[in-house]
């Protein structure tokens, strides 16, 4: 799955940062709406559903992009346990970004709700009506959201660790392109230390 390239392809980087914003927004919208009885509940719910379907579509596109443009290899000297953690957390992120919208969609279907993405755009049900399935899927949606949030925290923490402490080019491989990397000043570190060019 990896290759000789040093950085992620442009489509991969665009999709990564776009989806990072969307998924993080989605997590906050989700916990916010279920904890609110104000008008926020209604308008957050109206954003939550179409945004979830958009994430589902982009996640499929992203998988295709990943297969076509394999990501750069992790640093050779990265300890094996960190490599394992990196690979496991990335696959967990992929699984969750695909599963969460599908679970949400199936959950509304099982609850007998029309799956409305707007005032008039309706998706067909993908699960038979069943209160038991609704309850199970609704709880899964909540617990998987917590797992996604924790995985996101680990991912963000690890990215900063690579960028600020190891300075091994892992973070910059998702921030900058192959050619421009040599010319552009690092952007992710604003402290006194700047990231040296890591390529030979």
């Amino acid at each position: 799955m990896t290759s000789d390239v040093k950085t992620f392809s442009l489509p991969a980087r665009v999709l990564h940062w776009l989806m990072a914003i969307m998924i993080l927004a989605m997590l906050f919208i989700g916990v916010g709406m279920v904890a609110s009885v104000s008008e926020r509940h209604d308008w957050l719910l109206r954003i939550h559903k179409p945004l979830g379907i958009a994430i589902l579509i982009l996640a499929v596109v992203r998988l295709a992009v990943r297969l076509r443009h394999p990501p750069p290899a992790l640093p050779a000297d990265l300890p094996a346990v960190q490599k394992l953690a990196a690979h496991a957390s990335h696959w967990l992120l992929y699984i969750l970004m695909l599963a969460m919208p599908l679970i949400g969609w199936a959950m509304l279907s099982a609850g007998g709700y029309p799956v409305m993405l707007s005032d008039s755009l309706r998706l067909p049900p993908i699960f038979p009506t069943s209160p038991v399935a609704f309850a199970v899927l609704r709880h899964m949606h909540g617990w998987f959201a917590m797992l996604l949030f924790l995985t996101f925290l680990a991912h963000m923490g690890a990215a900063l660790y690579h960028g600020l402490i190891r300075r091994d080019g892992v973070l910059s491989s998702m921030v900058r392109g192959e050619k421009k990397a040599e010319m552009i000043e690092p952007v992710e570190v604003s402290e006194s230390v700047t990231e040296p060019d890591t390529r030979p």
Binding site: A35, S36, E39, Y113, D119, G157, T198
Partner: protein, 362 residues
Amino acid sequence: MHDPSATDTPPKRHLGSWALIAAVVAVTVGTFGYVGGWLAPHRLTPKRIVDQLQDNAGTFAGYRRNHAKGVCVTGYFDSNGHAQAYSSAEVFAAGRTPLVGRFAIPGSNPYAPDSSVPIRSMALRLAQANGQQWRTGMNSMPVFPVSTPQAFYDQLKAQQPDPATGKPDPAKVAAFFAAHPETAAFRAWAKTAKPSASFATENYWSLDAFVFVDSAGKRQAVRWRMVPEATDAGSDVDNSGNPDYLASDLAQRLSQGPLRWHLLVTLAQAGDPTNDATREWPADRPTIDAGTLVLEHTEPQESGPCRDINYDPLVLPDGIEASDDPLLPARSAAYADSYLRRTSEEAHLPGTAVAQPKPEAK
């Protein structure tokens, strides 16, 4: 590709970086916790409202946390096309829309006697041919006691039975009403209201305002109510000593033929309050008869088709929208919480309440 100098230096050099990483993670977690309500314990949440309903009347596994006692009905809405001038919803085109409904009485106890409250409720789920739905929950009084979710919660809290007496503390109830003059209209209604002998003879009001949107996008604030064709005092069934006389009466009437209501839609004028369910609109507002609600069959809620429906008033078809009434999103949010609790109980998920057998009649 890895810069050796970075790892060869003592870790002390990275203290600032570690602190920065920890700070970024901590701020993200803190923000998440605040938005999710865990770090904002005073925010009114759906959970707190439903918990309070359970505190007041107990937990009855598998049942709705409010309006717990009820029966399912099925039938259709026969539109005459008159409301089409104001709403593009398919349900208002001339013709029939099938529905699954539910009659109920307020309160969280599914075994409460029908005479315990003077209010009856009607909920409907109309299923349009295009797959969109209109769900509505209506009550048999023209105004709601309070206008905000917080006041509703405070009222529940004031009415929580005192463990010593098993009854609400009159002083707390009086203090609540004194602090909430907007309850006056409801209290005036409640003073003369008697528990009716039948679901069939009641008017049912939407209470909350909604917005009709026509095919050109023009918006019109509305309220609606169901007006019964049946006007008699009650059926000939002897209901003395029967705590479930409403269900018996309904079944008896439906065995003789369908029951009908007219859907009357009241059109607001500029300045009429759309965000205050405690205030009626002036009586001279134009009203349109949008069609006839026809109910044909009834079934017990334990096995009927209404059991697994959440009558969320914000499940609306294109052409009907929520108004700025703050009760609407709170109803939607609290109903969703109640629905998750009772479906979780149906699924026997760990940590959920276990169903109790119906208590013997005393």
